[in-house]
């Protein structure tokens, strides 16, 4: 892309093209437009970075602006990012670099395939290499490096949740044997108090189903997908290599995980490092088995459901969690207006989980708060989720939007467990 010299553009007062007189003021659209007055250097600098090339494809149609969740609470969207860069913003040192949650709704509608899921991690990697990282995110990176989880919890306590599950879970490093299902618990189900509730519910449901399953316990480390998307590719590669080595020590016939981000990593990213696994999200594993469960009670709740971006748009699974909701006796289900392929983002993806205060300074409200309002509007009394990031995000948002007592947030596995008691 090079600058067009204004002198090279000719404007004629009268012009006849192929016998047609097209004279008139409207042909002033051929005038130099304002964008030529800006240096294209900053844009070319970014699009020269491997992975960020497609930013150059944007032709400013603006379809992404109506799809971008961050734009609905601020002034964002890929079209706007492109324009800001075109007019001189250095994205590598601008807060905008960190606001994208890589939810992929823009890519879904983009006619030019401007791929922010590739662009943002590539640009962030350059910023990270220059040690330009928001402090909150830096802490999550350092915790992941030091302890194998972004929460900064001790590695040896990773399987402590099992003790209070009231159902067995085989911790493979302690009890070495082949299992049918290796359950990749991931960090938030391992450590976050509300995540642990879901993990324990999962263990009880697995016991009812008689599945032979085990976990890696203290040897499991973060799958690191969100850290990768937040720009720490070196950290992702290091932990992925460690996880691949650990997984090679144990015998199992398939893998199930709690976390759509881990699912995405194991399904789409680890194979690029030479490790392929038969991996399912737990909703995919459980949906076909729901008919075998000995239901004990009806749950008369009005519920709605939030699609995780990394289960839905990124990996095309919309039906499994809905099938689980359909089969739990008693639930009355209503969709939110933004759902499935057009599902709204909770704000936690792409590193957003660890940028809450930072992002809060650049948006009018959190994405999780906007989403909670949408859930309340459906008349539902419960927001059902199936991603470990979401329970805490939405429970906080219920409080901060003043909806306490009006909306409960539950992982779908908690409802299955409740209906079996």
């Amino acid at each position: 892309m090079s600058k067009v010299e204004p002198g090279r553009v000719r404007e004629d007062e009268h012009l006849i093209v192929e016998g047609m007189d097209i004279s008139g003021h409207w042909n002033r659209m051929f005038e130099q437009r304002v964008l030529w007055s800006h240096d294209t250097g900053p844009l070319e600098k970014l699009t020269a970075i491997t992975g960020a090339e497609s930013l150059a494809y944007c032709y400013q149609c603006g379809k992404c602006t109506s799809a971008c969740p961050v734009d609905s609470v601020g002034s964002y969207s890929p079209r706007k990012i492109f324009r800001k860069v075109q007019t001189g913003t250095d994205l590598l040192t601008n807060p905008d670099l960190w606001l994208c949650t890589t939810c992929a709704n823009c890519l879904r509608v983009c006619p030019k395939e401007v791929n922010m899921i590739s662009i943002m991690p590539a640009l962030r990697e350059v910023a990270v290499t220059e040690a330009n990282v928001p402090p909150e995110l830096q802490k999550a990176f350092e915790n992941t490096f030091q302890h194998g989880n972004p929460l900064g919890e001790p590695a040896r306590k990773r399987a402590d949740w099992v003790a209070e599950a009231g159902a067995p879970a085989t911790i493979l490093p302690r009890e070495r044997r082949p299992v049918d299902v290796l359950f990749y618990v991931e960090c938030y189900w391992s450590y976050h108090p509300r995540g642990r509730d879901a993990a324990r519910a999962f263990a009880r449901v697995m016991e009812k189903l008689g599945v032979d399953w085990g976990i890696l316990g203290p040897e499991e480390k973060c799958s690191c997908d969100s850290q990768r998307l937040a720009g720490e590719r070196g950290l992702f590669e290091m932990l992925a290599e460690q996880n691949i080595r650990t997984l090679a020590k144990y015998e199992f016939s398939r893998m199930v995980t709690s976390d759509p981000h881990a699912y995405n990593a194991l399904r789409n990213e680890y194979p690029k490092l030479g490790a392929e696994y038969p991996i399912q999200h737990y909703t995919q594993f459980l949906a076909p088995l729901m008919g075998q469960l000995p239901w004990k009670r009806r749950l008369d709740y009005k519920v709605t459901f939030h699609d995780p971006c990394y289960l839905g748009r990124h990996n095309g699974e919309y039906d499994a969690p809905r099938e689980m909701i359909r089969q739990i006796p008693g639930l009355q289900f209503t969709e939110m207006f933004r759902c499935k392929a057009n599902g709204y983002c909770c704000g936690g993806g792409g590193g957003g989980m660890w940028l809450d205060s930072f992002t809060g300074n650049h948006v009018t409200e959190r994405l999780s708060e906007r989403r909670v309002r949408e859930a309340v509007e459906t008349g539902a009394e419960m927001l059902v989720v199936c991603c470990p990031y979401e329970v805490s995000r939405f429970e906080d948002a219920v409080k901060s939007t003043g909806n306490e007592g009006r909306l409960l947030v539950r992982d779908v596995i908690e409802l299955v467990d409740e209906a079996l008691r």
Binding site: Q146, E153, P154, R233, L235
Partner: protein, 256 residues
């Protein structure tokens, strides 16, 4: 300008610490070690000086479990050389013994300035910098929050109680105990760390005779005993305020 940064590891308090069976040390089976945060600031200060006016930065540590990664991280952060000093033990030494063990290697390195953390979790008296200075026979300033080069001296900001600061000039060579760098320690990207590890450029030195002697012997290490608990004042805000006032008067903490 050649700056030596002396670093060490301390137990990461994410893990619960247990006293070992002998009752004189930590049970190290589950203890994870990490870089002393004040040493982290000393390193950041050194790298800032390098960026500001050009300097060679050498990072120095006693050998011990996990120290290689700490040294490689320092190289990834901007240190030019990393030196591991073998004092004949993998066990952590107290500051007195560490200073004697390190002094010879530092003298051989010949730096103009030595920076180290003002204190550590196992050196709350902040003895490392003064002991090092005494071993080397150089001037010393501790509790420093900024270092600038001023010709053949450095100008430092020393922190006092009550938020007071002093600006001091110290002739070189000198030893400085760093409380805080002017900016938080920068992030070390894992890709850089791995590059540094792949380069494998650690130098080693052996502590001289007499190194690692002296110091204090720990006779007992124990967890603090829980007190009998706090007294909770109850009642309306006015009643609670009256009780607080009465307590303060009773203990002679209020005038008039």
């Amino acid at each position: 300008m050649h700056i030596a940064v002396v670093v060490k590891q301390v137990p990461d308090l994410v893990e619960e610490l247990e006293v070992d069976a002998a009752g004189t040390g930590l049970d190290r089976a589950w203890v994870k070690m990490k870089l002393n945060e004040f040493d982290d600031h000393a390193l950041e200060q050194a790298v800032l000086l390098k960026e500001a006016g050009g300097a060679q930065v050498s990072v120095v540590a006693l050998d011990g479990e996990g120290i290689d990664q700490v040294l490689y991280a320092a190289v990834a952060r901007g240190a030019d050389r990393a030196l591991k000093v073998d004092a004949g033990t993998q066990e952590p030494l107290d500051s007195r013994r560490a200073a004697t063990a390190l002094a010879g290697a530092i003298r051989d390195l010949g730096p103009d300035l030595v920076l180290t953390g003002v204190q550590a979790a196992d050196d709350l008296f902040g003895q490392m910098a003064p002991f090092l200075a005494a071993e080397l026979g150089w001037p010393h300033v501790s509790v420093v929050s900024q270092v600038e080069v001023a010709g053949a001296a450095v100008r430092v900001q020393q922190e006092y109680a009550g938020g007071r600061m002093a600006t001091l000039e110290v002739d070189l060579p000198a030893v400085i105990g760093v409380q805080a760098a002017p900016q938080p320690p920068r992030y070390v990207p894992v890709s850089r760390l791995r590059q540094a590890m792949a380069s494998g450029a650690l130098e080693t030195a052996t502590a001289g005779a007499g190194a690692g002697t002296g110091g204090a012997a720990v006779t007992q290490l124990a967890k603090p005993e829980a007190g009998r608990g706090a007294e909770m004042l109850t009642g309306s805000p006015d009643q609670v305020a009256e009780k607080i006032e009465a307590l303060l008067r009773e203990r002679g903490l209020l005038r008039g």
